[in-house]
């Protein structure tokens, strides 16, 4: 009789504890919100800077010249320059080393093709874009490397799936994609 009573008490307290709304764990529910960005892909250059938490933040700058899409080298030059004042106000920074740099880009498909002429290659090209800069790149952290790779990949390919091989003043890196 005693054990029955304690059992009933326990179950009752369990029931009472289960009443009402409890706090829960974080639960995943569906995908993210997909939002159109203005200006559209053909009228913008996509630069990958870094947010205050170290994660990449893309910036879409409208093109102020007629040729679209712009050559990748020009996009990289814009990346290597610092963020604008408005962007900095939102906490956007760059991790790339300061100072004047020169950038050379060799598109992926054929090494002898004219620079900047073949931006619209088929997606998922197996070969890598070659980027050569005058700054160092082997000693760079993951964040600035991702800035260079992602900006180049999206300048070369709207889907950003092409691989990029970086060569700097201190040597070259294996080809990598924008993840």
């Amino acid at each position: 009789m005693r054990s029955v009573r304690s059992l009933a008490l326990e179950s009752a307290s369990l029931l009472l504890a289960g009443c009402g709304i409890q706090a829960s764990e974080v639960v995943e529910a569906g995908g993210p919100a997909v939002v159109p960005v203005a200006p559209d892909q053909l009228e913008r250059m996509l630069l990958f800077f870094v947010g205050p938490d170290g994660r990449p933040i893309p910036v879409a700058r409208p093109l102020d010249w007629g040729d679209s899409p712009p050559p990748t080298a020009k996009t990289l030059a814009a990346l290597l320059a610092d963020p604008t004042e408005e962007e900095r106000a939102a906490g956007i920074t760059t991790r790339l080393p300061a100072g004047p740099k020169q950038v050379e880009v060799v598109p992926a498909a054929r090494e002898d093709s004219v620079v900047g002429q073949e931006a619209g290659r088929p997606a998922g090209a197996p070969e890598a874009v070659r980027v050569t800069t005058t700054s160092r790149c082997r000693s760079l952290d993951a964040a600035p490397l991702r800035q260079l790779v992602c900006t180049t990949a999206h300048a070369e390919d709207p889907e950003g799936l092409v691989k990029v091989a970086l060569t700097g003043s201190d040597g070259s890196l294996l080809a990598a994609g924008c993840a």
């Binding site: 009402g20 709304i21 706090a23 569906g30 919100a33 939002v35 933040i57 893309p58 939102a90």
Partner: protein
């Protein structure tokens, strides 16, 4: 009502089963319903929040005015109810409320939003209030709009929504109340079959108890009606069989006893007539014994003596047979008790003051059967003279004795107490309980005695017939004391 009572235990067991049933059902139903309510609220909130965010257009980076507009627009469209909307971009924090950041959103939710490109939610209880916090990170397609590009990149923009779950809380509380209000009447209703079941189980038990009690009162023909084939009817059947067997054996015993009594009675009757003839002859022989030679005279006196004893024995046997057959009658008369005793002693010639000391106050009148009272006194005094030593004291007094509680209200009644005491060695304690038994010999070695062995038994029966008692005890200064107590209102006592 004791907890160990069968009815209580049955009812409690019934209620326990009902309570467990009700409780389990209510708890499971409640849990499912609560989860359904919460899931619906959560899913609706997350999907409608995401849908509304997807209506927006973004610049990268968005400026503060644009974000403020978005947040206000989202907060206005709050569905299914009002929510607070927060947006985080880089180092910018903007909200639809007064605080730029929420105190309800947990670090885990922020980490989740940064780690995976998924919408997420979390229920948070803060200050006893339940909140639903929702996070939706914003991504964009990198390819040109309408070309079907698949690659999405995070914009760095994250929207949070915080809403109170007060309606859900109210619904869930209402369910708890409903479950309780439903379970209690269900328990009350369960009490009815519980009591009915207890009654149906207890009725045979009660029947059995009544039957056992009636059996104890001597009604051996008591039987229980046997219904159905359950364990209880099995018990009733066994009870009936046992009762029938008992009735048979008792009946047989009674018949055997009756046969034995009739035999004793018949034998004494048959012996009486020849004995009367023998007595007459021995009296004649006794008178002539003086003229015979000494040996023959001794033999004749022995025969005469033994024949006299035999006659007494047969008379006593017949008397006791009448008592056994309940044929003894009480012929009462209002007499003076002292006078009656004196007459008894005189008729037996027990008048020597050295042997008999009398303490007989006059004036105590009682309704007695003079013949039977004479037998009682004669037996007791004769017994005292034979087995004790003189002087034998015969005392008489009227005494107020508490009535036997079994007889009535426990009042006080007047009793006639007659005491016969001797100065002998008294009665050994192991013999005391048997002195009124028939043919009981105090001394086993002494097989022959002057009495028939029935004297005290006949005394007891005679006193009983008067509605009284007779007790044997040892006096404080040695000697046996026999006390006869007869109610003075003997006329009201039926034999």
């Amino acid at each position: 009502m004791l907890i160990s009572g069968l009815r209580t235990r049955l009812v409690l067991a019934f209620l326990l089963v009902a309570a467990v049933g009700c409780g389990t059902t209510a708890a499971l139903t409640y849990r499912e319903a609560r989860n359904a309510i919460l899931e619906q609220a959560q899913d609706t909130a997350v999907s409608s929040f995401r849908d509304q965010i997807q209506e927006l257009h973004l610049n990268l980076p968005p400026n503060n005015e644009q974000m403020q507009g978005m947040v206000r627009g989202l907060a206005r469209q709050g569905k299914p109810r009002n929510w607070w909307v927060y947006v985080e971009y880089g180092s910018v924090r903007i909200s639809s409320g007064t605080n730029p950041t929420s105190t309800v959103i947990t670090p885990e939710l922020r980490r989740q939003a940064r780690g995976t490109p998924h919408g997420s939610f979390q229920r948070v209880v803060k200050n006893g209030e339940p909140y639903l916090t929702v996070v939706v990170p914003v991504v964009f397609k990198t390819a040109q709009t309408g070309t079907g590009g698949q690659t999405v990149r995070p914009t760095g923009l994250t929207f949070y929504a915080v809403m109170q779950l007060t309606d859900e809380q109210a619904n869930i509380d209402a369910m708890v109340v409903a479950a309780r209000d439903g379970a209690l009447p269900a328990l009350a209703i369960a009490l009815v079959p519980a009591l009915l079941a207890a009654r149906s189980v207890l009725r045979p038990v009660r029947d059995l108890r009544q039957a056992a009690r009636s059996l104890g009162r001597g009604r051996l023909d008591t039987r229980i009606p046997v219904k159905g084939g359950g364990e209880l009817s099995e018990l009733a059947r066994t009870f009936n069989e046992s009762t029938a067997a008992l009735e048979r054996s008792v009946d047989e015993l009674q018949r055997a006893e009756a046969r034995a009594r009739r035999f004793a009675s018949d034998v004494s009757h048959e012996l009486r007539t020849p004995l009367a003839g023998m007595l007459a002859v021995t009296e004649l022989l006794d008178e002539d014994a003086a003229g015979l030679d000494p040996d023959t005279a001794a033999a004749v006196r022995l025969i005469s003596n033994e024949t006299g004893k035999l006659a007494v024995l047969v008379e006593d046997l017949m008397e006791i047979s009448r008592f056994d057959a309940r044929a003894a009658e009480l012929n009462t008369d209002e007499v003076d008790a002292a006078e009656t005793i004196r007459r008894t002693l005189q008729s037996r010639h027990w008048t020597d003051p050295a042997e008999i000391v009398l303490d007989l106050p006059d004036g105590i009148r009682a309704r007695l059967d003079p013949r039977r009272f004479d037998v009682v006194i004669a037996n007791l005094v004769g017994n005292a003279l034979r087995h004790g030593r003189p002087p034998v004291t015969v005392g008489l007094r009227a005494e107020s004795l508490a009535q036997d509680p079994a007889d009535g209200a426990g009042g006080v009644a007047l009793w006639l107490v007659t005491e016969v005491a001797d100065r002998g060695p008294g009665i050994p304690p192991d013999v005391l309980p048997h002195v009124f038994d028939r043919f009981y010999k105090a001394d086993q070695a002494r097989t022959r005695s002057a009495g028939s062995g029935l004297g005290l038994a006949i005394t007891l029966e005679n006193v009983r017939l008067h509605g009284g008692t007779v007790r044997a005890a040892n006096g404080p200064d040695g000697g046996a004391v026999f006390a006869v107590e007869i109610p003075l209102t003997a006329s009201e006592v039926t034999a």
